[in-house]
Every structure is written in C-alpha cells, then in structure tokens.
Amino acid sequence: MFDFIISFIPRAVAQGIPLLYGCTGEIITEKSGNLNLGIPGVMYVGGICGVIGSFLYERTLGGAPINPALGILIPLISCIVGSMLMGLIYCFLTVTLRANQNVTGLAMTTFGIGLGNFFGGSLIKLTGADIPSISLTATSNLFRTTLPFAGSTGWFGQVFFSYGFLAYVAILIAIGASFCLNRTRIGLQLRAVGENPATADAAGISITRYKYVATCAGCVIAGLGGLYFVMDYANGIWSNDAFGDRGWLAIALVIFTIWRPAASIPASILFGGLYILHLFIPTGTDLAVKELYKMLPYIVTIVVLVLTSLRNKRENQPPESLGLPYFREDR
C-alpha cells in the first residue's frame, strides 16, 4: 500500500501541474472580470509555441551538444510570447471592442487548438518520421532535470524532489498570486475591477489596463502549463490532440477552488490523481468502467458547485461582474 502511494503521488502531481498553471492563470483573469473560456486554446498555443522554438533550435544544432541556457530559454520565451499574443487578442476583442466574452473565449479555444494542430502537423512533415509526432529529447531532458539529491533520499525524494523546475515554478506562482490578490494594493484593486468596475473607475483605477494586464498575465501562466505538459510530462513528444481536455479541467478547477490560487495547489494534485485513478484501479477488461472513473474530476466539481451555492456565502461567489463588459458612459 505504501509503495502504491509513493508511486501514485508523483504521477498525480505531474498530472496536476498543467492544471495548476491553467487554474492560476484563469483565476487571475477572472478576478479582473474577464471570463476567458479560451484557456484550453491558450494552453495549447503555449505548448506548440514552445515546441516550435525548441524544434528550430535543435535543428540548427545539427548534432552538436545543446546549450542548457538556450535550450530552456528559447522554448520558454516562445511559449510566453505565443500565449501573451492570445491574451492580447482576447482583450482586444472583449475589452476594447466589448465583444461577448463567452463567444470570444470559445472561439479562442477552437482557434488555439486548430493553430496547434496545424503547426504540429507541419513540423511532423518536416521531420519526415513515420510516427505522427515530434520528439525533442534533448530539450525535454533539460526541463526534466531534477534536484541532484532527489535520487538519494528514498521515498521522500521521490514524493517531493522528483520533478522538473516548472513544477516548482507553478507552485511558487500560485502562492505568489494568492499573496498578491489578498495582501497587496494591486490585488485589492484588481479584485475591485472584477467585482464592480464602475466603483473601481470612480476610485481612479484604470479598468482597461487592469483587465489587459491581468488577462495577459493569466494567459502567460496558463501557456506555461502547455509547455510543462509537452516538455516534462510528455517527455518532449508532441503529437496532435494529446493535451486532451486538461484545459477544461483547469477551468473546472477554478470553480472547485472558489477562486483561491492557494487552494488550487492541493486541488490540482487531487484532480490530477482523480484524472489518472482509472489507471490504478483494477477493472479487468471492462473498458467502460475506466471511462466512468474518468468522470470523477467533473463530478467532484459539480458536487462543490452544489455545496458552495447551498452555503450561499458572499465571498464564495464568482466576481460580481464576471463576464460583463464595462463601458463608463453606459446607462
């Protein structure tokens, strides 16, 4: 049993980290009043941009050993630029042009996944390989480098130190976001923008700037989740549609944690565990039962939704003006 838990936890964490990135990014976005349903697309774009960057870099090497700094920085920066562009498009449509946020978000998801599959397909053609995937082993090895003493500390090291640096960054970002939202002036003002933009505006806070910055920052964070998935979780192997429905799970996680980034750290690991539980439960040959187990994260989300609406506490509600455009002279 103990051995089972020791082998289960690292896999749950590895599953949970992309969700944690997506969830933290979406919480920051939603706190500004923008309901960005484009997160799955943004994470997808984040992943493919990282892949494009490192693919082109690895090709220029032509067999020479990879420079560790460049090997990490190039995909990282490509990913950040790509996801930020997605955030800018979303903001331009919903904040500047005041388009409907739901429609825009869903369009961004479709667009992002299409974009990812298009470039994924192009790169696969370039490699000329038989299997429809790209393998970036050298880059992935950099991203998967663990702390040096991880292997020598037994089960403790396996549970706590056996991850690539992006996993720790995710947790630091979540803690930082939590601190920023609840303890700083910027956080207070950001929450005011999402709760009641007219009030924030009257207090001299620039609504447009906060919405743009929060949404773009949220997109960058979510995009890193896509990068982590490809480079660390999937061992640097990109194949189209492998990311699956993790983006939607991240949005479900936002509701599950009731808009609290700190709570999303354990919650994302829990979701990650639920997501792969079906691999660990002996179900025999009946595949239908496995499919039922895959529903678990969503069922948990629904249960939490029911429970929080029953308790009906004002703090547990979504930001009051979530999903609504703001126009100062609107009457």
């Binding site: 207070l188 003002q189 929450r191 709760e195 009641n196 001299g204 002279e329």
Partner: protein, 513 residues
C-alpha cells in the same frame, strides 16, 4: 458670503450626449463653507453638471476654475486631487469588501500597504464627526444609511474639501435623514463645502444656505435660501405657476365596501427569515391605502402575496367580489388573480426589471398583459399597439414612437408606461409600489392624478411610497410597517410626519426610551 473668492467656478459649461443637450451654457459659483442646493426636475442636468466637476464626464465646452485658476478634470482621480468628491445615487462600493478596503481603494499612499493603519484612521474620522461605522464590516452586511456613511468617510479620508451628494436622502428614513443633515452641518462648520443635488424642496429649505436652480440643462437663477419661499423655488424650477397641493377627494362613502381583507398573514423568505409577521388589515373600494415603512420592511412581500406571487406561511387574504361572494386568494393562480382585476405595478430601484422588458418596444410591453387573449395561435398586435398609443397620448409619454425600446426612455416615461398599462386593465384593486420613484414634481403629479382617478372609479388602491410628505397628502389611511409587523394604521388626514416616522422605526411609535 459674496465678494469672497469662490472655491469653484463653472463657466459656460455645455455638454451633450448625441442629440440630447444635457447642459447648455451653465455658469455658477460655489463658495467655501456653504451648503449649496442644486435644484431641478428630473433630466434638468443637475447630475450631469456635477459629474463634470467630479470627473465622470468631460465638458464639451466651458471652463472650470478652482480658486480662480483654470483646471482640467479628466477623471475622478483628478477631481480627488483638487479636493472634490462626489457621492452618487447608486453607491460605488464593492460588496464583498470591508468598509476600510472600500475606503482605501484606488489610493496610493506612500509606504507599504497597511490595512490596519487605514482602519485606525477611518475609526478616527468616524469618531471626529460622529459617524456610526465599523471599519471591518463587509458592505453587504450594511444598511443603506451605513453604506452612505462609508461613502462620506471615503471622501473625508481622501481629504476632500468639496463634497457633492446626489439625492442623498432618497433611500433614508426621516430619522436617518435628520442624522445625515446634522453630520453635514457639522462638516460645513468645519469649513467643508457641500453641494446637494435634490428635487425635494423641504430639504433645500432645511439644510442649504443658497440654492441654484437648473431647468432643462440651463441655469435659471439662484436664491439665498433663508429669503426664498418654497413656492418661489418651485415656480423657478418648473418654469410656471404650479399648485403644490396633492388633491385628496373624500372617498365615496355610499359605495364603500371592504374589498381585500388580510388576516394574520405571515411570510418567510427562502432563508427562513420572517418578512411579514401576523399582518392584518383591510382595503376598501374608493380609497387609497398608503403603506409606509423603511425599505425592506415587507412591503414587496405584502403586495406580491396579494398578487399571488409569494408563498405564504400562514394567514388568509380574502377578496370580496360583492357582499355575498368571497374568494380566498392564497393558493390561487396569479393569472386568475389578475383576471379578477387585481393588478400590480411595482417599480423596482432600477426602474426596469419588473413588469417591463427593457429591450422590447412599447407595443410589445403592452402585449405582456394581453398575449394570452384569444384562441388564435398568432398574437394580436393591433390592440396592444392601439393601447400603447393611447398611453403615450394620455400620459404625455415623451417618446419618438411606440416602436422605441423602453430602455431608451427616461425613467419617468418608463414609469408612466408601466402604470398606464396596469390602469388600462380596468382593475378593481391597484397595487402600486414606488410609482413615483425618482420622478420629478410634474411627472409625479400626473401619477398622483391617475391614482386619484382610479380611486374615484371605486378601485381599491394600495400605494407603497417612500416620500412621507406624499403619503400624508395623498392617502386616506396609512398602514405603517416596521420590520414586517404592522406598527399601526393611521388616518392620513390627521396624522403627522413625526408620528409616522417614529412608527416606522419602532413598533407602535412612542418616544425613544
């Protein structure tokens, strides 16, 4: 007072929204240490003018001078920097924040972000001026008057010297109003400048030192309050001679009959909180029964129960068809109740949202009452259109046509459409709540007139109102609610404002012990 340098001078200010000229060439001066009342009807541009001083809008033409120097106020922040703060009719507060969080919102104090120190500073301001606010209370837990206090403290915290209040008493009880006025006088004596925007003449008289009157976006004149009479102010505001008394014809005793009899009515809301507690009263034909009470004392629940929209805990509501036949309304289908002639016109705070659909035009809104008529699967649009035209004509609704969405009309016109439609149904019982909410003198009188006509037709009118002066002048009897209980039923002709006000805050009235 004159001869001094004005703290603020507005010079030749004009502002238009599309084709509508909200302010035209307005000039006025505001002096330090005075209470200035800005008086005018709805749509006369008072709020727009002050919004330009507080940075919400920017004037099209004209100049704002502060202490004689021209300034440009492009945002609320600029206004704060010049010591100008405004309290809007709809409070600008974040519900899930505490009082302190709301107060420091948007401030960039030097040094770290310290909510504890801010809370202490808030406490000190409250103690200095005698405000009653807990710095750590969440706004959604506060009463309306506490929220208003938070707004005032917010401005003082920012060091505002000039405070603009937009219809501050619209949501307060008489006692709360007195308290507010006392605080405002305190602040004036402390050297602050206060501008109140209002259309209530009694408040102008009671509080202000000087009054400036606007009409249709233009400056029409100013008076020193102490030297002016209410009649003079009204004439200046409306632009012609108006009679200030609301008609109150005596009820026809001959046909007087008990129409609605409510007995021991108790209502709990979904959270199990008692909203109405053992309420009993009767409404007679040919009379206006007023219902007074602090907002949220159960007025809405009472009317909805009669209209069949509320689940009732216990008690009975009887409807007298004639002297022999009595129907029990509780448990009856709302449609059937409406069919018996019981109509409800409820004007909520946002004026839309109950009874009218903002994005639909006048004709379609008329259809909301009649679309079930007839057997044809297609709706009849001709008759509602005719009715819409009739309402527009009779009630002088100011609209480009009956095909205009109601959300495009001004508040007063929206209300006329709502009340007009309900009256057109030839009711036997007219339940009217806040029919004149936010309306100016002229439009209000039109509505009072409509209600009186219904009374003359033998309709039992139940009128829920906010303005005690109006209730006292319009209603034959007044039922006072206090926290869901009947505090008493008084005769509208003999009672006093003070008596009703006390009954609103305390069961059975009586002096504070």
């Amino acid at each position: 007072m004159h001869g001094k340098q004005p703290a603020v001078s507005l010079r030749n200010i004009s502002k238009s929204f599309g084709p509508i000229q909200a302010n035209n060439d307005v000039s006025l001066d505001i002096y330090r240490g005075e209470v200035l009342a800005l008086l005018g009807e709805n749509g006369s541009g008072k709020t727009t003018l002050m919004n330009m001083l507080s940075g919400i809008y920017y004037p099209d033409t004209g100049q704002i001078l502060m202490d004689g120097k021209p300034v440009s106020i492009g945002s609320p922040k600029d206004a704060f920097d010049h010591g100008v703060g405004m309290i809007h009719q709809h409070f600008k507060l974040v519900n899930v924040f505490t009082a302190t969080e709301n107060i420091v919102l948007g401030l960039k104090d030097e040094g770290g972000f310290d909510l504890k120190a801010a809370a202490a500073k808030v406490k000190k301001i409250c103690d200095d001026y005698g405000f009653d606010v807990d710095p750590n209370q969440k706004v959604y837990d506060m009463s309306v008057s506490q929220k208003q206090t938070v707004e005032i403290v917010k401005l003082l915290y920012r060091g505002a010297e000039i405070l603009i209040l937009d219809e501050p008493t619209a949501v307060l009880t008489p006692q709360e109003t007195d308290k507010l006025f006392a605080v405002l006088r305190n602040m004036r004596d402390d050297g602050k400048t206060i501008v109140i925007i209002t259309h209530k003449l009694t408040e102008v008289k009671e509080l202000s030192d000087r009054v400036v009157v606007l009409r249709k976006g233009e400056y029409v004149g100013e008076m020193v309050t102490a030297e002016a009479t209410t009649q003079e102010m009204t004439n200046m505001m409306v632009g012609r001679q108006v009679t200030l008394n609301i008609d109150r014809p005596d009820p026809e005793m001959k046909y007087r009959m008990e129409r609605i009899r409510v007995k021991n009515l108790t209502i709990k809301n979904r959270e199990g909180v008692t909203k109405l507690d053992n309420v009993s009263f009767s409404a007679y034909t040919g009379e206006i029964l007023g219902i007074a009470g602090i907002s949220g004392s159960g007025q809405k629940e009472l009317l909805e129960a009669i209209a069949g929209l509320q689940t009732v805990e216990s008690g009975s509501i009887e409807y007298n068809v004639d002297n022999e036949q009595v129907e029990q309304l509780i448990g009856m289908d709302p449609l059937k109740i409406a069919g018996m002639g019981v109509v409800l016109s409820f004007v909520p705070e946002d004026r839309l949202g109950m009874g009218l659909v903002g994005s639909m035009d006048l004709t379609d809104n008329m259809m909301l009452r009649s679309f079930r008529n007839g057997l044809s699967p297609l709706t009849d649009r001709k008759e509602p259109r005719h009715l819409a035209e009739l309402v527009v004509d009779e009630l002088e609704v100011n609209t480009p046509g009956v095909d205009t969405p109601v959300s495009k009309l001004s508040g007063g016109n929206v209300q006329k459409v709502l009340v007009g439609r309900e009256i057109a149904a030839a009711p036997t019982v007219l339940l009217s709540a806040y029919a004149v909410r936010g309306l100016d003198v002229n439009s209000s009188y039109l509505i009072y007139d409509l209600l009186n006509r219904q009374k003359g037709n033998g309709v039992a009118v139940i009128y829920v109102g906010e303005d005690l002066d109006v209730l006292l002048e319009l209603c034959d009897r007044i039922l006072v609610l206090c926290g869901g209980k009947v505090s008493g039923i008084v005769d509208g002709r003999t009672t006093t404002k003070n008596e009703v006000g006390l009954m609103m805050t305390k069961l059975g009235g009586g002096e504070e012990r």
